[in-house]
Amino acid sequence: MTFAELLRLALSRLRTSRLRAALTMLGVIIGVASVVALVGVGQGTTANITSRLAGLGTNLLTVSPTGRGGTTSTNLTVDDATAIGQLASIGAVAPEISTSQTIKAGTESETVTVVGTTNAYASVRAYDVWQGTFLTTVSVDQKLRVVVLGATTATNLGLGASDIGKQVTIGGLPFQVIGILQAKGGTGFQNPDDQVVVPVGVVQKYFVGGKSVRSIGVSVAKADEMTTASAEITSLLTERHGLSSTETADFNVFNQTQLLDAATSISGTLTLLLGGIASISLVVGGIGIMNIMLVSVRERTREIGIRKAIGARGRDILAQFLVEALTLSLLGGLIGIVVGLAASAVIGQLAGWGFHFNPSTVVAAVVFSLAVGVVFGVWPARQAARLDPITALRYE
C-alpha cells in the first residue's frame, strides 16, 4: 500500500468520526500552540531587550560615581570627560547631567527630564536628528539656552517640523528650539524619546549648580577594544582623582555589552523554560492520541479481522493505524502552529515588540508533533497488527 492510499484511508476514517478526531487533536493543538506562542513571546522579549539596549548606544561605556550621591554630590566633571576624550581608543565622550523640569510651549506643558550634555551626546547615545540641528560646539561652549526635543516630548507639546526656532520655557527660563530628535521607539519607564537635551553648562548654571556631572557616556572606537578602553579610563580617572591604587575607586566604569549579554542569556533561559513547560501539554496531547487509538483498535477489532481475512498483512494494518495517529497529530500540529503564531502576534502587538516569526520554531513544532504521533501511535498500531484474524472476526 502506498502512503497516499494510507492517507486516504486515514482521512476518510477521521471524517466518519469528526467530533472524536477534533477532540483528540485538541490536545495536540493546545500543546503545539502553547509551545509556539510561548517561544515566540520569549524571542520577542529577547529581541525587544536587545534592540532597546542597542538603542542606548553602540560600544557604550558608562562612567558613573559610586556611593550614594545624588546628582549634586558627584565627583565626575566635564574636565574628566574631556580628559577621557584624549585617550586613543575612545570614539566620542559626552558628560551627562540631568534634572527634572517643567517645559512649556504655549499652553502645553509637562514635566520632563532635561539632559545637560555636549554635542557628542548624539553619537554616544545613538540619536538621530529628525528636524533642525543637534547641539553644536559653539552652543555648548557659550552655554546658549537652546534645546533639542525628544520625539515624544515634541509630540506632547504639540510641536512639529515647522516649530524649529520657536521659544519654549524650561523651569521658567526661555529656550530656543533648535532641533527635534528621531524617535527610538521605546516605551514605558525611562522612555528615551521623552526628554530634552540642552548644553551641559546651562544645566549647571541655572538648574543644578556645581561643576560635577551625573555620568559620562563613552563610545569606544572599536568593539574589540572595550576592555582596553575600560582599563585606560579607570587608570586615568584614578590618577586624576588622586587616588592610590589601594583605595576604592569613587567611580565605576560600566560596560553596556555585559548587560546585553546578561539580559540575552536570562531571556534565553526563560524562553527555554516556557517552551519546556508548554511541551508537557504536548506530551499530554500525545497520550490523548494513544488513548483514542487504543479504544479505536478495540472497537474496530472486527474490521481488522475482516481486513486480514481479505488479504491485509500485519504491516498493512500497522501502517493504517500508524498513519491515522500521525494524521491526527500532524493535523493538530499544523492547526496548533497557526493558532500559536496568531497568539504570539497578538501578544507581540499588545506588548509593543511586534511579531517575530521564527521558521525553526515551526519546523521544530512539526517534527515534534510527528514524533508524538509515532511514539504514541506505534503501540496501538502494533496491538492492531498482531490481532489473530480468527478471533478478530468472531469479536462482537
Binding site: E303, G305, I306, R307, A309, I310, G311, A312, G314, I390
Partner: protein, 224 residues
C-alpha cells in the same frame, strides 16, 4: 491428481486447552477440483468452523498436509498466509462482514487495495462486480443502508472481485430470510455454472442440496 485446488492429506487440528488436548479435526483427507461446487455439512461441534479456518488459510493444521492451489500452507508465515488468501480465496461469511461506514464500492474494492492494484482499476473492477450482481444503483450505499440480502450480494461481489481460484462460503444464508437465502444460493449456482470453484460450509441439509457434492463431517472426521 496434481491439479486439485484443495488437497487435504491426513489433516488434524488439535487445540490445547491448558493440559487438555481437544482434537477438532482428525485425519481429514479430501480433494476439491476446479469447477466443483462442494458442500461441507455437519452439525454444530462437528469441526465445520475449524475446517473453514484451515481451508481459508486463517489457521494452520497441527498435523498433515494442506495444498491450496499447489502451495503447501503449513510452511507459510502469517504474511505468506495473508498473501495466499488475498490471491486465491474469496470469502463469503454468515454475517456478511462488510467494513462498517464504508460504501459498497469501497468494500468491494478493498481486497484489490491489498493486492496493490491502482485506485482507478480498483474502482472500475468493483463497479463491474457490483453491476454484475445487480447492485449498480447501490454503489455508494453503506452496509447499514442495505438489506441483508443486498449486503450478502455485496460480500459475494467482494469475494469475486479478485477473480479467486476458490470461493469459500461459510453459512452464507444463515442470517437471511428464506427468499434472500434462496437468491444467494441461486447466485452461487450461477457462479459455479460460470466455472467458479465453490466450497460451501453449512449445517443445513437443504442448503447443502444446492451443491453438486456433499462432504459430511461428524466429530472432526469425514463420515461420508
Amino acid at each position: 491428481m496434481l491439479d486439485a485446488i484443495i488437497t487435504l492429506d491426513q489433516v488434524s487440528r488439535v487445540y490445547s486447552m491448558g493440559r487438555m488436548e481437544v482434537p477438532a479435526l482428525v485425519d481429514v483427507s479430501l480433494q476439491v477440483h476446479p469447477g466443483e461446487f462442494v458442500a461441507i455439512i455437519g452439525p454444530s461441534g462437528s469441526g465445520k468452523t475449524t475446517m473453514m479456518n484451515i481451508l481459508g488459510c486463517l489457521d494452520r493444521p497441527t498435523h498433515g498436509q494442506y495444498l491450496l492451489a499447489g502451495t503447501p500452507v503449513a510452511e507459510l508465515d502469517d504474511d505468506g498466509l495473508a498473501k495466499l488468501r488475498s490471491l486465491t480465496i474469496g470469502f463469503v461469511f454468515q454475517s456478511y462482514n462488510l467494513l462498517p461506514r464504508t460504501s459498497a464500492i469501497d468494500n468491494v474494492a478493498t481486497p484489490l487495495l491489498y493486492q496493490g492494484v491502482s485506485r482507478r482499476e480498483r474502482v472500475a473492477r468493483a463497479r463491474a462486480a457490483l453491476e454484475r450482481l445487480g447492485l449498480g444503483d447501490r454503489l455508494d450505499h453503506e452496509p447499514t443502508e442495505l438489506s441483508g440480502g443486498q449486503q450478502q450480494r455485496v460480500a459475494v461481489a467482494r469475494a469475486l472481485v479478485t477473480e479467486p481460484a476458490l470461493i469459500l462460503a461459510d453459512e452464507p444464508t444463515g442470517n437471511l430470510d428464506s427468499h434472500s437465502g434462496a437468491e444467494v444460493l441461486t447466485l452461487l449456482h450461477e457462479l459455479n455454472a460460470a466455472g467458479r470453484t465453490i466450497v460451501l460450509i453449512t449445517h443445513d441439509p437443504d442448503v447443502a442440496e444446492a451443491a453438486s457434492r456433499q462432504i459430511h463431517l461428524l466429530d472432526g472426521r469425514v463420515v461420508a
